[in-house]
Amino acid sequence: MVAETEQPRSTWHRPTTFYDHRVKWGIYVALAAFLAWSLWGILAGVGLSRFTEGLGYGVTLLQTMYPPRTEAGDLVRLGDRLLESVAMAMVATAIGVTISIPVAFGAAQNLVSRPIYLLSRAIISISRAIDGLIVAIIAVMAFGFGPLAGIIAISFKTVGFFSKLLSEDVEDINMGSIESVESTGASRFQTLVYGVVPQIVPRFVGLTVYRWDINIRASAIIGIVGAGGIGQLLMTAYSRYEFDYVASILLGIILVVLLAEYVSAVVRRRVQ
């Protein structure tokens, strides 16, 4: 209703973000049409019978999974590989966070010049644009099978995530504190350690633990493309149709992930 400047005083419409009410409904209709078209495309090729059939296979698969394998030798292998995943996550978090620190400061618009800002943002965008599994495939091709490729892939993904979130916190700091430290004649470095760092330390710790917990999950899955850890064992068991072992591995992964999530939640609650 933008065109009507003189509205009758007796009616009132909430202004819409879509410029006009007709445009708003147009967008809603277009979205609904697209969703309907997508659903039709999928359902036409599948049909209900295939879905019910699939459910049957699913039940059979679950039945072959039970009971999970508990032989000592297999469990030791499982434990070793789980430990490898956790170790990969630890190392990758440490490397990724270390690289993220300069990138995060560089990507904070309130602290650096335009070229450094754009460069840092570019690094973040590249890291975020490529999915972890694809990075892992490339890393496996470059460095061969095993945990090294996994560590590189997870570290790479950590940089994009961590730098982006930390840089947003750096941009939100109280610039008044920075100004007052500068006004005493402090150098740039002193201003950084005295004015900026204390303001972001709690978030830094929280984000590190949060990313560590994400990395544990990533390191469990990344092995399916050969990048080390429990995922590799899962893939082997699966391709050998050892579904009872698959069940044990999945339970192991769930246990570790839940534990990591719990630790991460407790630590973050305490620092923030």
């Binding site: 005493t184 004649g185 402090a186 150098s187 303001q199």
Partner: protein
Amino acid sequence: MLETHDLRKVYPTGDEALTSISTTIEGKEFVAMIGPSGAGKSTFVRCINRLTEPTSGTVELDGTDLTALSSAELRDARRNIGMIFQEYNLVERLTVMENVLSGRLGYVSNWAAFRRKFPQEDIELAYEILELVGLGGMENKRVDELSGGQRQRVGIARAVVQNPKILLADEPTSSLDPETSHDVMELLTDIATDHDIPVLINIHEVDLAVGYADRLLGLHDGELVFDGTPEELTDDTHGVIYRGEELTTTEAKRAIPAGGRR
């Protein structure tokens, strides 16, 4: 001694915040700059230590032109200028002592700053000043545990520990209740006398300015329209400062020195 000559500031938006301010502040004068919101009071104070970069004109502190300094030289010069802010501008997550000692950063190495390792004299001085501002025994409290009045005292302590040659204060009482405002003003006058340094404060509460200052500067729309003692601030001059009225009485005219208006 602080001297400004034709100090002018035009913001990138085209707003002329200061037209051409020339004034001198010396001795242990307590100078309060008054004027309506948007008159340029903050800009003037911030142009002195170049937190805001002046467009033209000069600022001389004891004969050194601050506007001509390189950034490294400016850092050294800033050690001699203490500044107190409206929102205190403390580092909230640090202790009172760390905030006070940040006033000595200009004298220590980066590594020492990183390890919070300050010379013994600095620490003794900090304790002494904490006592002076009434925060004795509070050195290990974190600043975010303090009240507004206490925070501003930390802000004052940080400025005083610099052993500055001049103290600037940008609306130091605006975030405080009336009683605390009086305490802070009293503290600032005491510091001017005890440390024998001039204090320049910008303030919008005229009563406080009249009550504590030795000299008032009136700013209207970026122009210095009044320069005199609190006794010389009549209703007419008040109107000139706050409403931009032309002067009507001869008495008021005398209150404005020849160089004060352009």
